[in-house]
């Protein structure tokens, strides 16, 4: 069962949400649900001591994302 809540976002945050919604072809709710899944998955990995690293497929260059 799903529950409804009101979300207060700034204009800038709303623009990002609109942009992601458009680029990913998702409703705004679906974008936020996806963001929650990813945030939870990252948090749990980081809590276990893992690092979040991005790798450029062409150059194989790696960059660590710092989570504060």
């Amino acid at each position: 069962m799903k529950k409804t809540m009101t979300l207060n976002l700034t204009d800038a945050e709303m623009r990002v949400l609109d942009d992601l919604s458009s680029r990913k072809d998702l409703s705004k709710t679906a974008v936020l649900r996806q963001a929650l899944r990813l945030y939870q998955a990252v948090e749990i990995r980081v809590e276990k001591g893992d690092k979040l690293v991005f790798e450029n497929e062409e150059t194989r260059e790696k960059a660590e994302l710092m989570l504060l």
Binding site: K24, D25, L26, S27, T29, A30, L36, A41
Partner: protein, 205 residues
């Protein structure tokens, strides 16, 4: 709270309908069934294959999958939902998904999809193991559940997976696009069901 839907499978010999539960979770009972029923049946099959001198390449390629470990790795994580099918008091199929992946099919590249990390049916329901199937339709029912979840999440029915070679033909005839071997994934073929194919698949099922 686990969501349970009633679906129908058919018996392998007489094609009689058999009611089954599609559950949107893999719970402890499923892992007990896997451990106490699937594994012994799989071990018996492997022994028989060894006795008959069947080459290793033709053995069931998922024989080493450890569902308890797989579930422990994703426990509580929203991004990795599991599904199970229960019929005749026994777990008949299991599936674990990953909702963090993106489509590769050119027309939808970068858009989210439901990626099937693992899908396995009980050894007695596997057509590749030779004997008469107890129940038919378990794999297709799990695929249908993946498409339905993808639609419910706003992913338009898109699903993807890497197939073990023995299952390539099953996914090809289930309406997936074959994007070929993936060099970054042990050379396994990557299959994707597009929005259009998903709609057609769902209507057929």
């Amino acid at each position: 709270m686990v969501d349970v839907s009633t679906i129908y499978l058919v018996t392998g010999d007489t094609r009689e309908p058999v009611p089954a539960e599609l559950r949107d979770a893999i719970e402890e009972q499923q892992l007990i069934d896997w451990q106490t029923q699937w594994q012994p049946a799989m071990i018996d099959t492997l022994k028989e294959l060894a006795q008959r001198g069947v080459p290793l390449a033709q053995w069931p390629q998922s024989w080493h999958w450890d569902w308890r470990k797989k579930q422990a790795g994703v426990a509580g994580l929203l991004a990795f939902p599991g599904f199970s099918i229960v019929a005749e008091g026994m777990t008949q199929g299991l599936m674990q998904l990953d909702l963090t992946r993106a489509a590769r099919w050119q027309a939808h590249a970068g858009k989210p999809l439901a990626y099937i990390d693992y899908l396995e049916v009980a050894p007695w329901n596997r057509p590749d193991l030779g004997s008469t199937l107890r129940l038919k339709g378990v794999g297709t029912a799990l695929l249908t559940a993946a498409v339905a979840l993808s639609q419910a999440e706003g992913f338009k029915g898109r699903i993807g997976l890497h197939s073990l070679p023995q299952a390539d033909a099953f996914y090809a005839r289930s309406g997936f696009e074959d994007l070929g071997p993936d060099g970054n994934y042990q050379g396994l073929r990557y299959f994707e069901m597009t929005e259009e194919r998903a709609r057609a698949f769902f209507e057929e099922e």
